[in-house]
């Protein structure tokens, strides 16, 4: 049996007019419009376009929730296996609409969704992590190629077979890394790559260097004598027995520990559970990682106002950057709520 596909397009590709018609609300047709003919041909015996849903680009952009809901209703009525949206090329509003409706169709209707856009289409920036999209050129002159790629990807996804890497299957990656097995070993690949690089040939790294986010520095504390200061650590320093079951590596959580009644960390009250370094010295004296003893002395001497009542800690080894960032946000919320003025974070 042929798979059922609904095509989503804008007013322009539906032949209903250009910018002057961009405000038209969603409607559906049983006929094949615009790129539909090319898709029908590309799908061959495997799938067919069972309906077309049209929405004006401005309408979608200006009434995004309403447009989404109406379009979903129209799409659902066709009982499709798949939604194909666009291709949007470099049309910004159209790209956003395609990205939004594909995201919604996947989530709400639990069906496959595919779109296509130019690399700089703003839809990609916003929805690229959610949807399968193929790269296109920036204008409709690339229609034939885009339809071929989109239909191939849609059929691949509908087949239920495991999806290969973006590089091989020809879609924009969604920012996710997945393990695959190559034909050659890592050592063989490395030497091939080195020879290409040496001979000045084009070469492809297997991991592009990521760009870490930077932020402008926070303003300094003005009055240190009344400042409340927190100590935090990713060095795996926790109360003995690790009450929050923080993992020794690849941490999934962090702990908040009351240190208000402690002056010194000792092997009796605290320990290191970190799996990434030799813990001999941290076990002997956990202050070597989380410096409670000296901070307490400095507090008593009046070098700063007050040590925050809690220490926030986790383990940093093999912990993904995404997890570390979310711990940071959670700890940041806590410190903000409790009126902390500055923090010292130690890492191993």
């Amino acid at each position: 049996m042929k798979k059922r596909v609904v095509l989503y397009i804008n007013q322009f590709f539906a032949g209903m007019g250009g910018e002057e018609s961009a405000h038209i609300p969603p409607e559906s047709k049983n006929t094949i419009l615009g790129p539909g003919a090319a898709f029908t041909q590309a799908f061959g015996d495997e799938a067919e376009i069972v309906g077309t849903v049209i929405c004006g680009d401005s309408y979608y952009g200006e009434h995004i929730e309403k447009a989404r809901e109406e379009c979903l209703k129209l799409i659902r009525a066709f009982e499709p296996d798949c939604l194909v949206a666009g291709p949007a090329f470099n049309a910004g509003r159209y790209g956003l609409a395609c990205g939004d409706i594909c995201t919604a169709a996947q989530r709400e209707l639990n069906i496959t969704a595919v779109t296509g856009w130019y690399s700089e289409n703003p839809g990609r920036e916003l929805y690229g992590a959610n949807v399968f999209a193929v790269p296109t050129v920036d204008s409709a002159r690339g229609m034939k190629d885009a339809v071929a790629k989109m239909s191939r990807l849609a059929l691949r996804l509908m087949s239920g077979e495991p999806m290969g890497p973006a590089r091989e299957e020809g879609y924009f990656h969604r920012g996710i890394r997945k393990n695959f097995f190559h034909e050659k070993t890592g050592a063989q690949r490395a030497i091939d790559l080195a020879l290409q690089k040496f001979h000045g040939e084009a070469f492809q790294t297997e991991l592009e260097m990521p760009v870490f986010k930077k932020i402008p520095p926070a303003a300094p504390v003005k009055d240190i004598k009344s400042a409340k200061i927190a100590i935090c650590s990713s060095g795996g320093i926790v109360p003995k027995g690790n009450p929050d079951h923080i993992r020794v590596s690849s941490a999934m959580n962090w702990g908040k520990y009351d240190i208000s009644k402690l002056d010194d960390l000792t092997p009796e009250n605290y320990e290191s559970i970190h799996g990434g370094y030799d813990r001999t010295w941290a076990l002997e004296d956990p202050d070597r990682v989380l410096p409670l003893d000296e901070m307490r002395k400095l507090e008593r001497e009046g070098a700063f106002g007050k040590l925050y009542e809690y220490a926030c800690t986790t383990t940093g080894t093999a912990t993904s950057v995404a997890n570390a960032e979310s711990f940071g946000r959670e700890i940041g919320e806590l410190l903000k709520k409790d009126g902390v003025d500055a923090a010292i974070l130690t890492s191993t």
């Binding site: 520095p217 070597r288 400095l298």
Partner: protein
């Protein structure tokens, strides 16, 4: 983690660790080089030196907290 605390709470966060390039890479703003990975704030061996080293780093952290900076800064002393 440091960057997100600083951003979320809007307060200066001093990062003390041993491998300065990593702190620069992950976007920490106030950076203090620690002593060694397994004991960033300690000099095991002599108890007195151990405490003195730790105290020095803590004092430097307090100084970093009160120093105005406009870019990532390594506080070497």
């Amino acid at each position: 983690m440091v960057r997100e605390i600083e951003k979320t709470a809007g307060i200066p966060v001093v990062h003390i660790a041993t491998i300065v390039p990593i702190m620069l890479t992950v976007g920490s703003n106030r950076i203090i080089p620690g002593i060694a990975i397994p004991h960033p704030l300690g000099k095991p061996g002599n108890d007195e030196e151990d405490h003195a080293a730790r105290r020095k780093l803590c004092e430097r952290a307090l100084k970093a907290i009160t120093t105005k900076i406009d870019k990532q800064t390594v506080f070497k002393e």
